[in-house]
């Protein structure tokens, strides 16, 4: 099958970017979006051009390294599926693809389709962790966790850190990401003990780095991990809770 592409090229963070038009004539339905880019890159190198830089790693949807915007949708036309698992056979009649980086002020372009998402890690650094010295944890069987709490914690912990939620948000908010972490750690036994101070630290970093949330819900539509919109509510709940309690836990 023939696919027409417009692909974003940008030499560096401070350079101006532009779209480049290309055609791949021998695309096949079983190709993933990223394999289409692999194929295009082969073509580009054959023609003496530099390949398009884009990120991916596990290509199974677990690592969160991949992520491009396809026809204005982060990750691509198949809802809630990472770029690596978007296959051409699922694109229906769409054969013209405009591919650009995940767009957000918080994610500066490194080169071509590669962006810098370390702002997400700065949220985790600020407080998205649990303060336990190695080797001091009590017997995990003696710490009881209800089946339901473990399952709900997992629903939030499933986040792969790809940043598509930020790119989908008209405000560039990272509430789905931050809320998923706050909700996850509020549901695990040791995480609960510093729930208040974590909320303050993470929300402060969130407000410093990202836009405000207007609950558009665009983030949920693109999230490959199926993080529910209640994660966004968790940001406000955890923050308010810490204000009223005024305690570290």
């Amino acid at each position: 099958m023939r696919i027409e592409l417009e692909v974003w090229r940008q030499d560096g963070p401070r350079e101006r970017g532009r779209f480049e038009a290309h055609v791949v004539d021998d695309a096949t339905p079983e190709m993933s979006l990223l394999e289409l880019l692999d194929r295009l890159n082969d073509q580009l190198v054959e023609g003496g051009q530099e390949p398009i830089q884009f990120e991916s790693d596990c290509r199974e949807g677990a690592c969160g390294a991949c992520g491009v915007t396809v026809n204005d949708v982060p990750h691509g036309p198949v809802p809630r599926t990472p770029s690596c698992r978007q296959h051409l056979r699922s694109f229906g009649a769409v054969t013209r693809l405009r591919i650009e980086p995940l767009r957000s002020a918080a994610f500066p372009v490194v080169r071509d389709l590669v962006v810098d998402r370390t702002a997400l890690d700065r949220l985790i650094r600020a407080g998205g962790h649990v303060d336990v010295m190695t080797g001091t944890a009590p017997d995990a069987d003696a710490v009881l966790v209800t089946h339901d709490d473990a399952e709900v914690a997992l629903d939030f912990a499933a986040c792969i850190g790809c940043g598509a939620c930020v790119a989908a948000c008209p405000n560039g908010a990272a509430h789905l990401f931050a809320g998923a972490k706050l909700a996850h750690l509020a549901l695990v036994p040791h995480g609960r003990l510093e729930r208040g101070r974590r909320a303050v630290a993470v929300v402060d970093a969130l407000e410093a780095e990202f836009g405000p949330c207007s609950t558009y819900g665009e983030c949920v539509e693109v999230c490959p991990a199926g993080i529910p919109l209640t994660a966004v509510a968790a940001v406000h709940r955890e923050r308010l809770r810490s204000v009223f309690r005024g305690r570290a836990d």
Partner: protein, 646 residues
Amino acid sequence: MTHGWTVSDRLLDAHVPAGDPLGAWDRRRAEYRLVNPANRRHLKVIVVGTGLAGAGAAAALGELGYQVACFTFHDAPRRAHSVAAQGGINAPRARKVDGDSVRRFVTDAVKGGDFRGREADVVRLATESVRVIDHLQAIGAPFAREYGGQLATRSFGGVQVSRTYYTRGQTGQQLQVAASQALLRQVQRGSVRLHTRAEMLDLVVADGRAQGIVTRDLVSGAIGVHTAHAVVLATGGYGSVYFHSTLAVNSNATATWRAHRRGALFGCPSFVQFHPTALPVSSPWQSKTTLMSESLRNDGRIWVPANPGDERAANDIPEAERDYYLERRYPAYGNLTPRDVASRAARAEIVAGRGVGPLRNSVYLDFRDAIARLGRDTIAERYGNLFAMYTDVTGEDPYVEPMRIAPGAHFTMGGLWSDYDQMTSVPGLFVGGEAGSNYHGANRLGANSLLSACVDGWFTLPLSVPNWLAGLVGTPTLEQDAPEALEALETVARRTTHLLENEGTRRPTWFHRRLGEILDEGCGVSRSEAGLRAALEQVRQLGADFWADVRVGGRGDRLNQELERAGRVADFLELAELMVVDALDRTESCGAHFREEFTTELGEALRDDERWVNVSAWETTPVGKHIRHTEPLAFELVPLQVRDYR
């Protein structure tokens, strides 16, 4: 001298504690030298890699007060490939009454590894596994729970007890996220300095010990030296040398291979596990083989058409003309034979012309009978996410037609050789996780990989590295402009320039694909002397062709993924040669290393315990000659016995 390698009579000492093996780790821990807390901040450790082993070691050493610098080529520590492990993590916590124990774990792992791993290290793995689960749950991994609140477990291949802890089908992801946030906690505290998008390209050895690394900043292209009192490599395995593998596309052997070229011996490089339930390669542009959890073999039946070249659709082939070859050949274990046995049997069917699918390179994994017996809903509940993933990748519906699976290169049991304290043959250079080679012998059991990475990272290296550092209190780190540092820096710069400027015609990926074909054919699931000799010749030729004809292009002073790939493929080519040499040299079949010349009358693997109860630890000289050294293995807890799954 045989086929271009030599065998030395040097026997390696792994420094295993003498005496009762079950108490060995306790005794060793009590002997380790300690460093006064006030001195720790003057001692610097480099940790390369942020997977479960690297993040654990860096976080724990930082927490203890050492100055830690941690490096990853990823943009974030969470991306390390530990993230992709699905099934679970083993721990013989032995709370239940199913007869599990440390000793039982050791028996399973040693036997599963076909008596080619180090028993004493496996004991440590079992002993520390208890704390690993406690710690990871405390730092945020939401392990699956029973309704009574206790940790849930499940069973895994090659084992008769239930000791695998899990979080749905994403155990690796949950452990990796917990470990990387623990690492980021130390970064926030200032005890670990994290360098992302920084790739290690060489090791600095001075005064006979590892004193630093050379890295390239993947964004700016800057090549720099970082020095320290000790270096830990936790950079993962090299299964991606086969091009099509279950590994991530950026997984590579460069850090370990460069360390090898600086003197670190490489243990059993040919020991590679092929996972029997990977998805087959179905198109020329496919970039990897997706792994399907082996739990599918609990209910799926594996078969091929009895007649070669049968063109009919799977569902049109009547029962009498199907060959359920695993059930036929291994009635005791049937579809649940260990990974190496299942992969080999599949390959034998494919080679015999009974493979299925458009390229005839796969076998069927059929759920028809299970759906008839248990109902579609039960099967959906057990495997729904895997079925969805299968449909996603192939466009086929496994509820209606059988899945097609094929062996895929997966885990490398081989890796840098190290002693019991995880120190390689280069003093001051330590190894953790899949980058090492101690535990799994010639075949790894499912769910032991996450465990070995976690035990190394959190509970071994934080004790054994300080034991080394204790001897260096008051010693400054190597100067950045020391001759050894400058030499390594110049070597990297020269290589980088060469790759950039070479006026070749082929992309690095072309060579990588070709290398994968050669290895699959000659040094894959099944090996023969003739096939290995041919592969050796082809790999050497391909290596020469690479340097003559590779084309990278672009600039070195900005992000250049083609350049990154070229360096990794260059190292894969050298490593591949050693893998083939090792496979040729080891004249026996054991675990995943199956030599067609060494089989029983029934065609099963035949070990040679007279000659080969040992680890081959390879040296490569500066001019590229291979020398084998030997570490003899002793088994005190598990008597040598033949694996029999019939």
